[in-house]
């Protein structure tokens, strides 16, 4: 495959794969509540995830180790259990959120309550993984994910004041409700810096058998893909800031969200919103279910691979089957998908040091990276963002729970 095509595919993956239940919900909520003010959090999250995705790809290309495999080997089983449990738990909650997102989109279009859709959606996701190949999951899902560009069209049709959007790229102090402001900021960071993104990307690089020749492509794809992906999230925030914020509508119930696109795009706005929500969450759910299977199988040395038939990687297939079933059951209980999503994002932010630090240590180890170890900038950026996000999450999560 030509390099240009690879880069194009990678960009599509970045754009189509960035937006999912978490970034959609947190961006919409932030825009409705604080106008443009929190755009900086999306930008900061996008920069951080770009660094992490690049690292995940570089580790795979240079060392040929999938991330969980390298972590277990480098740190031993006892320490490996900590990030294993943290990533598995957070990813499972995010998986349930994504399934909830698809179900809500179906509720908006059919009127049938979301909980009834949970198991059919889980089954459809499972069928994709059971029958599909890695290429289908990665490229098919992200190609369809381009429908989320309707938020960009919507945002542009609303004619936002670009100098105000630009000014919000720099952090500023809140004018009201500081507890909620900082809670929203860390939820946005949690949504952008989802560990599933770089764990999945790294696993994909090993599935596709990358070598050092891919390092250039890897850098371009990570940098541009996450920038464009972040831009789609900014577009969601801008729509919310211009449609919901002036009317004083706060996104605390999911029924309020679908009208985000009806003002700029009319009748089609509602359909495009439902399609974007369904497709973005479906794609993310596929990746997360696969990630859980990679994580466990690579951590314990089992046979793994989405391109193998299920019977040739039985335990690997068992993990994603069980994960999808259990996550579907969480939604069957009728738990509010929006609340679950916001909670999962804050928890993701809280767990960042645990999920990110092992990767940073590996990325600075010449035994794995040779002379391709991290530079100071990527170390400092990722370390700062993950520690600050975790500290702010630690302070604001209790305030948010006991305050309301």
């Amino acid at each position: 495959m030509s390099k240009l095509l690879e880069i194009a595919l990678g960009l599509v993956t970045g754009i189509g794969g960035f937006l999912e239940a978490g970034s959609l919900a947190t961006s919409a909520q932030a825009g409705a509540e604080f106008g443009y003010q929190l755009i900086w959090a999306i930008a900061l999250g996008a920069i951080c995830i770009a660094f992490l995705v690049e690292m995940g790809g570089r580790l795979a290309a240079v060392s040929h180790h999938p991330l969980p495999d390298a972590m277990r080997e480098r740190f031993g089983i006892r320490f490996f259990l900590v990030p294993l449990v943290a990533v598995a738990l957070v990813s499972f909650l995010v998986l349930a959120s994504e399934i909830g997102g698809v179900c809500l989109a179906l509720q908006f279009t059919t009127g049938v309550a979301f909980r009834w859709w949970a198991l059919p959606v889980s089954a459809a996701l499972w069928l994709f993984l059971w029958k599909g190949t890695f290429g289908l999951v990665e490229q098919g899902a992200s190609l369809l994910g381009l429908v989320t560009l309707s938020f960009v069209v919507g945002a542009l049709k609303l004619h936002p004041a670009l100098h105000q959007v630009g000014a919000a790229l720099l952090p500023s102090l809140p004018t009201h409700d500081p507890a909620k402001y900082w809670f929203m900021a860390v939820s946005i960071l949690g949504a952008s810096v989802s560990p599933y993104l770089f764990y999945f990307y790294s696993a994909g690089a090993v599935e596709d058998d990358w070598d050092e020749g891919y390092l250039g492509i890897n850098r371009v794809v990570a940098g541009l893909g996450m920038t464009f992906g972040g831009a789609v999230a900014v577009a969601v925030l801008v729509c919310a800031a211009l449609v919901l914020h002036p009317r004083g509508i706060q996104v605390d119930r999911y029924e309020q969200v679908p009208f985000l696109l009806t003002e700029p795009l009319g009748r089609w706005g509602f359909r495009l919103f439902a399609a974007s929500l369904a497709v973005a969450c479906f794609g993310a759910a596929l990746e997360i279910a696969l990630l859980l299977a990679y994580l466990v199988a690579q951590g314990f040395g089992w046979r793994w691979g989405e391109n193998l038939r299920p019977r040739h990687a039985a335990r690997f297939a068992l993990v994603y089957t069980a994960a999808l079933l259990l996550a579907g059951l969480v939604i069957v209980t009728g738990l509010d998908p929006l609340k679950l999503t916001i909670f999962s994002m804050a928890l993701t932010a809280l767990s960042l040091p645990v999920t990110v630090m092992p990767l940073l240590v590996l990325m600075n180890d010449p035994d794995y990276l040779g002379d391709r170890t991290n530079g100071w900038l990527s170390n400092a950026a990722v370390l700062c963002v993950s520690v600050v996000a975790a500290v702010v999450a630690l302070v604001t999560i209790p305030l948010q729970i006991f305050g309301s």
Binding site: R72, E73, I77, L81, W130, G301, A314, R315, A317, L318
Partner: protein, 114 residues
């Protein structure tokens, strides 16, 4: 060679290139008057549990009445230690693939299209 760093917790690949698990432990042979010698690798069963929590491992072994499906690979069967540990053993025929086979035959293999 540092055993802890270069062997323990490494991926084990069988003679056909199939992943068969991780190096869960290393068997040392204690010889009176001489330095200890590495006798082989050990994987599966309760091996890993002993390294996580000895009390838990003891409890599980009492419940199981044994150490479960343990695979011991003598050192002369270890072919190469690089990114992975290559061994001259067939995963298919070894206890290391017991649970993989069990899940395949009892659960995954029974679902259509597997």
């Amino acid at each position: 060679m540092e055993l802890g760093r270069e062997v323990l917790d490494q991926q084990v690949i069988d003679a056909r290139g199939v992943p068969m698990g991780k190096v869960d432990g290393v068997i040392l042979e204690l010889r009176p008057g001489e330095p200890a010698r590495v006798a082989g690798l050990i994987m599966g069963g309760t091996t890993l549990l002993w390294r996580i929590h000895a009390g838990l491992a003891r409890w599980v072994e009492r419940r199981l009445g044994g150490e479960g499906h343990v695979t011991r690979i003598p050192w002369h069967r270890v072919l190469k230690i690089g990114v992975d540990v290559k061994v001259d053993v067939e995963a298919q025929a070894s206890p290391a693939s017991h649970w993989e086979r069990w899940v395949r035959d009892r659960i995954i293999g029974r679902i259509p299209g597997a």
